[in-house]
């Protein structure tokens, strides 16, 4: 790299982790430069040391981590050795945005005030009024609606995406020289993440800010960065210009990473079981579910959140059924209804022809046994402070098994099946990787030998390597036990890879339900296309974000606008959409979508749609 006068120069940086029994090196001999206005990406699997490196760049290394050697040079001084006082002044030029937007600000103070506080902490010469104005302007610039009011609102009143925008404002408000963005899109929905990325690019350009962009997803990084570093177990194994790296990865690890990226449209993207059965395992019939929430600040007024609206679909035995959608679309409510954690307000969920709402006692227990759930968060889904063996035995105990030896045997068997070493039997899940934990979750579900597994975002918190391994495990288990899977996910690529049929949900409704190929190559609903335009991929997109990714987030499910609920973000919106709600329309071969574009009556519009797509 031969740019003259780098903004930031990292030289031979090594960092140790002090453990009870000694030190372990977590970063070794990291060296790279960051030029002014350059966006450099860093990619690596979880545990590779990405976050540590990104924190080292902002002098945020605290025990048990310690700097072993090397320096981070900024303006010809090593920021790792700058005293706290001067460092605080320096933070004006060095900004950081993390991957936990909801935890990054004090929940008890208004967002805007905290940004002002930060600005004035690093730049005391700015007056309060001026600082306030600057923050409001910037909030406006990141397209936070009615920024002036939002300025006085609290973090809990912001959605994740909005909060991440606010944090970008927080980082850029002091006009820093460079910004470290650590996994900032990780907790966000695809469309929101894509919006945030677009924003980041715009703003850094406007402010002439250099960015060090860290992510575990190569497609995301390649979308943003001009140059990419690949980190494996604390070492940089490769660095190249983005295009070159994507085209010709040099290091085998980079190559491996790329091979694990799920494909959307390329050959061999789907790897679905040959579903032969026509038996309906689960049948969802016109199900509705709403929640009442007390209106804040009222005495007895309630809001109705219509989380699931008139949903109907069937799941066939042995198939993989996917439900996709963004947060707040009703996926989780759907999951709770399917697993009978809740009962529908109207409509029925039938399992093998029986209404599960009617099940009681023994029948219910039998249903539970056959119908298991694997949850999203590998951390909160395991009971804390319980040994793995005990976790796996608990469901068996629940179902009345008491023989200790039998319990232990069953637990060890299932651990073996999911690829957990039996030495972990007495261990706590703490310290295990997310993938290992998710295996425990799977094992916990499998120990009851169920027929149907509902995977609620099971893989979304794992990096690609882990996802890859677990998907293989799922295939194996399915082959072995003839399982039926329901995948509830926001990850189109994953759904593309494993599901026979996919339902797309938006604001509590199914807007499209189609077979895998049809959905990806001939989606019937603009929302599906929007999703596809936002999904990070290295492939050439069939639907470009410029055409489909509009600003804005889904409206609140509390005050649903009349007409089509997607109308507000739809690129093809028509007058009719604002007044009437489209129903699911058959597109043949049991594929359906709910859009007026499919209505023969609006054939002309359909032409328009097709033209847009072309």
């Amino acid at each position: 790299m031969t740019q003259p006068a780098p903004l930031l120069a990292v030289r031979d940086l090594s960092i140790d982790l002090r453990t009870g029994s000694g030190k372990r090196r977590v970063l070794s001999d990291i060296s790279f430069d960051l030029a002014p206005r350059e966006i450099v990406g860093l990619i690596g699997a979880s545990g590779s040391g990405k976050t540590i490196l990104s924190r080292a760049l902002v002098n945020w290394i605290e025990p048990p981590l310690e700097i072993a050697s090397g320096q981070v040079e900024y303006k010809s001084s090593n920021i790792l050795t700058v005293a706290p006082g001067p460092m605080r002044r320096l933070r004006r030029e060095i900004a950081y945005v993390g991957g936990d937007p909801m935890g990054a600000l004090d929940p008890t103070l208004p967002v805007g005030h905290q940004i002002v506080e930060k600005l004035r902490a690093v730049a005391p010469e700015i007056g309060a009024a001026e600082a306030g104005k600057r923050v409001v302007d910037l909030l406006d610039a990141v397209r936070i609606p009615s920024a002036k009011n939002r300025f006085h609102e609290y973090p809990s009143q912001f959605s994740g995406g909005m909060m991440q925008r606010a944090l970008i404002v927080d980082a850029l408000v002091s006009n820093p020289a460079f910004l470290v963005a650590d996994n900032i899109t990780q907790p966000l929905d695809v469309t929101v993440a894509a919006q945030v990325l677009r924003l980041l690019r715009e703003l850094t350009e406007r402010f002439d800010t250099a960015v060090f962009f860290v992510s575990s997803s190569l497609p995301v990084v390649s979308d943003v960065a001009s140059r990419i570093l690949v980190l494996e177990e604390g070492r940089i194994v490769e660095q190249q210009e983005t295009k070159a790296l994507v085209a010709h990865p040099k290091h085998p690890y980079t190559y491996e990473l790329m091979s694990q990226i799920p494909k959307l449209w390329a050959e061999g993207a789907a790897n679905v079981p040959a579903s032969t059965s026509k038996d309906v395992v689960i049948s969802v019939r016109d199900v509705c579910r709403s929640y009442t929430v007390r209106k804040r600040g009222t005495f007895a007024a309630y809001n109705t959140v219509r989380a699931v609206r008139n949903v109907t679909f069937d799941v066939l035995a042995g198939e993989n059924f996917g439900v996709v959608g963004e947060s707040g679309c009703g996926k989780s409510s759907m999951m709770r209804l399917l697993s009978r954690l809740e009962l529908p307000d109207s409509g029925q969920v039938l399992c093998n022809g029986e209404d599960i709402a009617q099940l009681r006692g023994k029948d219910l227990l039998k249903f539970r046994r056959n119908f298991q759930l694997v949850l999203q968060d590998p951390f909160s889904s395991l009971p804390p402070r319980t040994a793995i063996g005990a976790i796996l035995e608990e469901p068996l105990r629940t179902h009345g098994m008491r023989d200790k030896r039998e319990l232990r045997h069953r637990a060890l068997t299932v651990m073996d099946e999911v690829g957990l070493p039996s030495s972990l039997y007495e261990e706590l899940p703490i310290g295990l990787s997310a993938g290992q934990r998710q295996r425990i979750n799977v094992a916990q579900a499998m120990v009851l030998q169920p027929k149907v597994l509902i995977m609620d975002e099971t893989l979304s918190s794992l990096d690609q390597t882990e996802q890859f391994k677990l998907l293989k495990l799922f295939d194996k288990l399915q082959a072995q036990y003839g399982l039926t899977y329901v995948f509830i996910s926001h990850d189109l690529a994953m759904v593309r890879r494993v599901c026979n049929r996919v339902a797309v949900m938006y604001l509590g409704e199914i807007v499209e339900i189609a077979h895998n190929e049809r959905l990806f190559f001939d989606p019937g609903h603009p929302y599906t296309r929007t999703l596809m335009s936002a999904v990070p991929t290295l492939e050439e997109r069939r639907y470009r974000p410029e055409d489909y990714l509009l600003e804005g987030e889904p409206p609140s499910p509390i005050d649903l606008p009349p007409g089509c609920s997607f109308a507000g973000r739809c690129p093809n919106v028509m007058d009719r959409c604002l007044t009437q709600s489209p129903h699911l329309t058959d597109r043949g071969a049991h594929d359906m979508a709910a859009c007026f574009l499919l209505d023969p009556a609006t054939a002309r519009s359909k032409d328009i749609a097709e033209r847009v797509v072309a």
């Binding site: 945020w60 933070r91 935890g103 929940p107 008890t108 930060k118 009222t298």
Partner: protein, 326 residues
Amino acid sequence: MFVLSFLVRRLLQGALIVFLVSLLIFTLLRVVPGDPVRLMAGGMAPEALIEQIAKDMGLRDPIVVQFGRYMSGVVQGDLGQSFVRPANGASTGGANFNDSTRGERAKVLDLILETLPMTLQLAGLAIVFALAFSFLVGIPGGLAPGRWPDRLAFYISSIFVSLPNFWLGIILALLLSVKLGWLPAIGYQGFAYTILPAIVLAVELSPVLIRTLSASMAGIMMEPFVAVGKVRGLSRSRIVFGHALRNASVPLLNLLGIQFSGLLGGVLIVEFIFDYPGLGLLTINAVLQRDFPLIQGIAIVTSAIFVFINIAVDLVATMIDPRLEY
């Protein structure tokens, strides 16, 4: 708008609670053995006279009827009259007898209203002392979990919780008032007389406060926004005092609200020891004399105060932390 609806809702609930508590106390005090009339009339009074007085006072009606009568008075601000105290407010001895010639008995509400401000002054000062001390000890403890400030906080709270308040009261009065002459101690003739009893109460209050404060401080300091705050360029003192303390004050506030009823127990003893003319002294005398209307009135008033203090606490807590909703 939020505040208003919150207040309406909570005040209604509060009124219900006070009503239920009144009912409970009313019933409880009527199942206590020891006929209050017997107490009033003296041990030597003949049974017939006792029955007569009881009937005249309506004490032989069903409890519900009595309660209804009582509550209709309460609603109009009438908590009844003391069994034993005359209108001039003297504490009276156990050995008195009923006779038709008794002077007018004191109104329970007057007795309470006269002593309540004194107790509020004492309790307020005690809370100020306790908070100041807990902050001094608890915050460093919370900022350095497992290290010496934490241990110091821990030992201090262990010692404080083991100090019986009447022991401490006497020792402090002896030391600071009698031996050193720094502070006056017995009775009340000026604000300075509040200081010693308040210190004793503060010592009683502070162990739990120290614990809560240092635990919640330690917890808050683990929150991501604290670590991120540093990277965002905020100084440590700003993070600690501007943010961590603010967050840690919510559990502390709640605790203070709860502690209020415990405080009354302490006030009782401390006021007795220091002859401090507050509600506690009134209560202990009422208890020692089995002056049921007075006990009842005090219980209802304190429970009402408790309920409303807690509403206030919750309101303040929601103002500090808008996520809370009660």
